[in-house]
Symmetry: C3
């Protein structure tokens, strides 16, 4: 890692083929093409091959802990041949120290927020939960800031749809967004919903979705495990 | 399979990482977000990682055999790292018995309708044929109901394009749709056409496309086989 | 290869699961659906599972060397489970001899133009350079014809973004296009920029992007190599 130490842009790596980088002073032509707000010179970049939900939750913690904004959240079709998204999150600040710190926080959070990602050959489940949504969840899904918020995704899409139905029936939550292969996703093989409400209700809703999702993947003959350690 | 037996939503699985599910009484908020017709309480869901054409043909048989409608057909970019689509088909009815029966029929048909899917490392061919198109083909491609209908797809896209040209020249058929990576697909590496006409002409057209497609994959040094047993 | 010899459409294969084909006289209904210019009866097709940049540079050489036009350039989401694009390039001419020759030139060029594609498990770099852009670069990216032109792509997208910033700062070049997962790509996990300017400046810019890209992939613990032999 002698090499990486010498690259000023490099911050670190994390699960999901995630890399965290910073640019202290974005080139002015690039800055303009990206449509960044003029007051921000520095950006922090978190991008991975597998994820989105976990990265957005991690970015929520990063902006809470630092003086940064969420400039962009984009979701490529990826997961390395899997059925879902990767992610590209761009945080912005006037000073590089702030974005560097934010990227560090996000990378550290990822081990936890990947706790309810369950992958197998036929598909996956990706569940995310926060007691208090922040700017990243708001940017990506219109989550109400400060409220409990959950992301429920399942693949193949049929599993995500039954998870969504189960989640809505399991507790008194409000659906914020609904996405499917043709709309609101990058053509992933998923149904994804986001929910908000009281924290107990959101958690209960996400857990109910997870349980039926795991049972359905088992019914497909799949052995699924958390990529790290369940936290919801 | 004790687990799956206890999940009321589970109907069965089939080739292509396909799962068939039902929801007896869709949650009303989900129902609204999905834009389903109000008269349908129950939905049947057929979704797989690999496919689309074969699933649509199977769904055609399912709606012919039952009292169900085709509510949605969506095609994610999938095939597990391959060059094509997966699928999400939603059937709807007033009663869960009808959609369950429809999903059962579709799952049973898939073994047959996958008969002219040929996969290899460099690409694939996916050929589908029916003597009498029904609601699924109509929903997905605007197929004329009751007429012979064929779907011709090849990857990489160049192969699909030569298959399309060969199909059109091989018999007196009408092209219904043309799709390519930038238009009409979920950015798959395919050219896909659909054709209609007299049943002999459609079949002849599809067979001609299949033969040149297989020869071109062979010219790429690929050994391709039917995933099940050719039926066209 | 007895089989392939007998297929009149077959021209050859190349790296990146690329196949080169011709259609001497495109079926008139297909011709219309594709929106081809009426004066062209013959098309040459170059399509691969991995690429785009290298194929576009190869097509530039092909149109320079022959009497052909670039009819279409489409970029599927592909790379066989990787993070990037495949490609479909359609060249057109009045006579099949011209498109066949163009496809032959393009296929021959690919070994060279793939020289600065670096692939690994976590991502890839794809760098392309020409001292004199032609019709393919112009069609795909609006490159100014006859001027030096470079394509800089990196995955995961964060790496592409830092490469873009480095490229812009390394030399006096103008950015022609900027693309990211949500805009200008087929939802790939890449940031891609194209640059023009004096040939020395463009080359220097592309090389600077390559060097930092390679360092960042190394910082991810990845061992990356050129798929053929570096030419920039």
């Amino acid at each position: 890692m002698n090499t990486s130490a010498s690259i000023t842009e490099f911050v670190g790596t994390a699960i999901g083929d995630t890399i965290g980088l910073v640019i202290a002073n974005v080139d002015c032509f690039l800055h303009e093409k990206m449509g960044l707000d003029k007051k921000y010179r520095s950006i922090g970049i978190i991008s991975g091959r597998t994820g989105a939900g976990p990265h957005i939750m991690a970015a929520d913690e990063a902006v809470k802990a630092t003086n940064t904004e969420v400039a962009k959240i984009e979701m490529p079709r990826d997961t390395k041949g899997g059925a879902g998204h990767g992610c590209l999150i761009i945080l912005a600040a006037e000073d590089v120290t702030d974005v560097r710190r934010a990227v560090e926080v996000a990378l550290k959070e990822l081990d936890r927020t990947f706790g309810d990602v369950y992958a197998c050959d036929s598909g996956h489940l990706e569940l995310s939960y926060t007691a208090s949504a922040s700017l990243a969840s708001a940017k990506a899904f219109g989550a109400p800031i400060g409220k409990a918020f959950g992301i429920i995704a399942g693949a193949p899409a049929a599993i995500g749809l039954v998870m969504a139905d189960t989640a809505m029936k399991a507790a008194n939550v409000q659906m914020v967004t609904y996405a499917s292969p043709d709309s609101g996703t990058a053509h992933t093989n998923e149904v994804i919903i986001t929910v908000t409400g009281d924290s107990d209700a959101v958690r209960q809703s996400v857990i109910a979705a997870r349980e039926i999702g795991l049972s359905l993947l088992k019914a497909m003959g799949q052995d699924t495990k958390s990529l790290t350690k369940s936290y919801i």
